[in-house]
Symmetry: C2
Subunit: 169 residues, 2 copies
Amino acid sequence: MPNPITADRRHYEDISIGESIALGPRKITKRDIIAFASEFDPFPFHLDEKAAKQSLLGGLAASGWQTGALSLRMLVDEFLSKIASMGGLGFTNLKWKKPVMKNDTISGTATITSLRRSKTHPEMAIITIALDMRNQKGQQVMTLNLANLVEVRNPGAPIPEDAHEELAL
Amino acid sequence: MPNPITADRRHYEDISIGESIALGPRKITKRDIIAFASEFDPFPFHLDEKAAKQSLLGGLAASGWQTGALSLRMLVDEFLSKIASMGGLGFTNLKWKKPVMKNDTISGTATITSLRRSKTHPEMAIITIALDMRNQKGQQVMTLNLANLVEVRNPGAPIPEDAHEELAL
């Protein structure tokens, strides 16, 4: 029986490899940076302007995990909340290319890089997404590749040969 | 000139490959889960108990990114704040093995998996750390590998042959 919550959302069958989605923009304030860092990443260069100026980062910079979490939020808003998502599996190759500084505005692009049925769970497919996040100057600040589960609308349809062996990333 | 903030902390020279550090424990409450998800990962299975019961997760579960951010906080408390850290480079192979459910307690182990001087920046070294996070039953909930910069106390010392070519992960 179709899931009533996700019935109207895009399923495996409605998504294409190569599709790309614009994310953001979102400005990161001093207040945002300090609030997140106080909870999760309490380093002087994320909490204190003076200490930050003396650090390698050269000024108050967001925790890289905050850039990650904010990018996730953009991906939820623009894509994951519109598909019949069943949750995330993990991600890989997360690289912080440049610090996100106070008052930077980040935006990005999510690109569907693969989409495959699960061999073991016919009702599930695995979608992989590449994120390319940039600051207001167009400079890359973070890249990562993420894997997520999405519902298959017609689980009875034959599973292609190239389906995943298992759900692991 | 030595950095006065980090002079007393452990440097490259004081850290060994294979060293392991206990992380946590930390209990995750319903309130923690909803607060984080509201900001970064607003899915019904992270926000609402009823919806969560009908989802693949089977109950209210923390955003996987929250497990990541809380693990980072543990790593800062137990290790990164005690070394002359110069910031993170990124991480890879993040896998969510099992959901973290309401009132689960997570703890873990961080293991130093590599430690190398930078070839291009004699004052920096790259340390890689494997995180193994578990719930109160000892079940693995998340693993990941992380790369961080650490200061070299004696940058004039010869750089070994196996030093990193560059700072990229």
